[in-house]
C-alpha cells in the first residue's frame, strides 16, 4: 500500500479529489498574504484574496452538494472558481479544473496516469483560453514542467507518490524560475522590464496546487 506503483490498480476516487481541494484551499488560505504581496509587486495585489475567495467557495460547494465521482468534483470546483473568483485567475484556474474534470468523465475511480492525462487536457484549455506559453511568466510556467515531470515519473515506473512528489518539487522550482523573467501575459506585462526580479503570483499559486496534489497522493498511501 505504501508503495503504490504507477500501474497500480488502486485508483483515485472522489474522496481523494475532495482531499486535494481541501489541501489546496488550506494552502491558499495559509499563503494568501504572500500571493497577494507577490501580486502587489507586479500586478494589482489581489491574487491571494481572489484564490482564497474561490477555494473557500469551492469547499463550500462541495460540501453543499457532494459530487459522486472525480470528474464531477473537479467540474464543480472549476465552475465555482469561475463564478466566484473573477480576475484573470478565475477563468484560468476554473478552466483547468473544469477541463480536467471533463476529461475524467464519469469514472468512479481513475488511475494516476488518467489523472495526468486529464490535467494535460486542463492545461491545454488554459493555454487556449489565455494564450500563454512557457516563459511568459504565468501559471503555465509551472503547469507545463510539473506535468512533464509527472508523466515522466509515471512512465518511468516510479512510485505514484514519488512521481507526484517530484512533480511538486518541479512546480516549486518552476515558480521560482519565473523570478528573472519578463512578463508577456497578464497584468505584469504592463511593467515591461520592471516585471523582472519578481516571482509570478499565479506561478506561486500553481505550485501550491501541485504540492497539495502530491500530499493528497501521499496521504492516500498512508
Amino acid at each position: 500500500m505504501s508503495d503504490a506503483h504507477a500501474g497500480d490498480a488502486a485508483g483515485l476516487e472522489v474522496g481523494f479529489f475532495l482531499d486535494w481541494i481541501e489541501r489546496t484551499a488550506s494552502a491558499v488560505a495559509a499563503e494568501k498574504e504572500r500571493l497577494t504581496s507577490l501580486d502587489a509587486a507586479i500586478g494589482d495585489g489581489d491574487h491571494g484574496t481572489n484564490l482564497d475567495r474561490g477555494f473557500t467557495a469551492a469547499r463550500a460547494a462541495l460540501e453543499a452538494k457532494p459530487p459522486e465521482f472525480p470528474g464531477a468534483a473537479l467540474v464543480q470546483v472549476g465552475t465555482t472558481l469561475i463564478s466566484s473568483v473573477g480576475g484573470a485567475s478565475g477563468p484560468l484556474y476554473g478552466t483547468v479544473f473544469r477541463r480536467t474534470g471533463k476529461a475524467l468523465g464519469e469514472a468512479e475511480s481513475v488511475s494516476a496516469r488518467e489523472l495526468a492525462d486529464a490535467i494535460a487536457a486542463g492545461l491545454a484549455g488554459v493555454q487556449k483560453l489565455g494564450g500563454a506559453s512557457v516563459g511568459d511568466k504565468t501559471m503555465v510556467d509551472v503547469f507545463v514542467p510539473a506535468l512533464d515531470a509527472l508523466l515522466a515519473g509515471l512512465a518511468d515506473g516510479a512510485s505514484v507518490d514519488g512521481a507526484f512528489g517530484a512533480a511538486a518539487d518541479v512546480a516549486e522550482s518552476a515558480a521560482r524560475s519565473t523570478i528573472p523573467l519578463r512578463a508577456r501575459k497578464g497584468r505584469a506585462s504592463y511593467l515591461g522590464e520592471r516585471s523582472e526580479g519578481h516571482e509570478d503570483p499565479g506561478a506561486a499559486s500553481a505550485a501550491l496546487l501541485w504540492r497539495a496534489l502530491a500530499e493528497s497522493v501521499g496521504g492516500r498511501a498512508r
Binding site: A40, D44, D46, T49, N50, I82, G87, G90, Y190, R194
Partner: protein, 334 residues
C-alpha cells in the same frame, strides 16, 4: 498618498456596502446588491433598444455604476476591488436588460475582464441572446505588442459608454452601436501619471513605495507601478509629458474631446491646473478641445495623480456626446 484608514466596515463587505449606498442614493437605479448588478430602474422604457452592459473591478468609481442611466449604460457589473466580475454577473445583467435588440458588452482590455466577459458572451449565446463585445484599449503607456497583454482600457471607456449609449438611445442596431464604440476606441488615447500609490482595502498596504520627489509615469488604474519612475516636476511639465505621449501615438490635430481625470486623491483645484496646461500644450500642437470633462471619473481608489484622455471629435461624435444623459456621475440635457 494612500492611507490604511478607510471608510469601510470591512474589506470583505466594502463592495456590497457601497452598492447598498448607491441603491439608497439613486432611485433611478435598480441595484441587485447580492449579485452586484446595477441597472436602470425598471420603469425606464428601453424596449427595442440595444442594451449596453459594462463592468469591471470596483475601486474606479464612478466607473461603471455611476454611468448607468438613460443615455449611457443599461447595466454595470461590479467585481471585487480591482478584480473583474464573474461571468454569472454579466450573464444575469445582460439577460435582465436585453430588450430584444441584443447586448453590447463594453470591456476594458485586461486579461481578467476579457476572459470573464468572453465566458459570459458564450453563456449568453446559449440563451439565444445576441451580443457583441468591444474592447477598450486606449492606454498608450503599454506597448501594444506580442509581448504584453495589450494596452489597458482606461479613460476612453467613459467616452465609449457615453457615445455608444447615445447612439443606442436613438434606436441604432447592435452593429452600429458596436461600430461607434469601436470608432471611439480607435480614435482615443490615454496616459496617466501617479504622485503616489493607492491602497486596496484587502491589502491594507500601499501598492508601491515612492520617494518624496518621485512619481510613477505611465500608470494604469489598478495601483500597478508605471513604466518608469521620474522626478517630481511642475504641473506644466507633467501635463506636457501626458500630452506628448498621447499625441505621439495618434495624430489629434483638429478637434478633440478631452478628459482630464483625477485618479482619486488629487484635489479638483489641481486638476484644473492640469487642465489649463493640457489645453495649452494641445493648442500649441494644433489640437483644439471642443468638449471636456475635468474631475474624478475613472479612478484608482485613493491614488493621487491624473490621466489625460483624448478622442478625435468629428461632428457625429460631438453630437452624440451632447445628447442627453442622466446618470449619477454624468448628467446633462435631462
Amino acid at each position: 498618498m494612500s492611507s490604511m484608514k478607510k471608510l469601510i466596515n470591512s474589506p470583505e463587505s466594502v463592495v456590497s456596502d457601497a452598492l447598498a449606498g448607491l441603491a439608497a442614493a439613486h432611485p433611478g437605479l435598480t441595484v441587485d446588491v447580492e449579485r452586484r448588478i446595477v441597472r436602470r430602474a425598471a420603469h425606464a422604457s428601453t424596449a427595442g433598444k440595444v442594451a449596453l452592459v459594462s463592468g469591471g473591478g470596483s475601486g474606479h468609481e464612478p466607473l461603471h455604476a455611476g454611468f448607468v442611466g438613460p443615455g449611457m449604460l443599461d447595466a454595470a457589473c461590479a467585481g471585487e476591488v480591482f478584480t473583474s466580475p464573474v461571468p454569472d454577473q454579466m450573464l444575469a445583467a445582460a439577460q435582465a436588460v436585453d430588450a430584444g435588440a441584443g447586448v453590447l458588452f463594453l470591456v476594458k482590455n485586461y486579461t481578467g475582464d476579457v476572459l470573464n466577459f468572453q465566458m459570459a458572451a458564450e453563456l449568453l449565446e446559449d440563451e439565444g441572446i445576441e451580443s457583441r463585445s468591444v474592447l477598450i484599449n486606449d492606454d498608450v503607456a503599454v506597448e501594444d505588442s506580442l509581448y504584453t497583454a495589450g494596452r489597458r482600457g482606461t479613460g476612453a471607456t467613459l467616452f465609449a459608454e457615453k457615445i455608444a449609449g447615445a447612439l443606442a438611445e436613438r434606436g441604432a442596431d447592435l452593429a452600429a452601436v458596436a461600430g461607434v464604440a469601436e470608432r471611439v476606441n480607435a480614435t482615443s488615447r490615454s496616459f496617466g501619471i501617479a504622485l503616489g500609490p493607492c491602497t486596496t482595502p484587502a491589502a491594507g498596504q500601499p501598492s508601491f513605495q515612492l520617494g518624496e520627489d518621485e512619481i510613477e509615469v505611465g500608470i494604469g488604474i489598478h495601483g500597478e507601478p508605471g513604466r518608469r519612475r521620474a522626478p517630481m516636476a511642475p504641473a506644466a511639465e507633467l501635463a506636457g509629458l501626458a500630452v506628448e505621449a498621447v499625441c505621439a501615438d495618434l495624430d489629434f490635430t483638429g478637434d478633440a474631446i478631452a478628459l482630464v481625470n483625477g485618479m482619486g486623491a488629487s484635489p479638483l483645484l489641481e486638476l484644473y491646473v492640469v487642465y489649463n496646461e493640457v489645453q495649452a500644450a494641445l493648442k500649441s500642437r494644433g489640437v483644439s478641445i471642443v468638449r471636456n470633462l475635468v474631475g474624478n471619473y475613472v479612478t484608482s481608489l485613493d491614488m493621487p495623480g491624473f490621466s489625460v484622455t483624448l478622442c478625435r471629435a468629428d461632428a457625429d461624435l460631438v453630437d452624440l456626446w451632447d445628447a442627453p444623459v442622466n446618470t449619477p456621475a454624468l448628467r446633462w440635457g435631462a
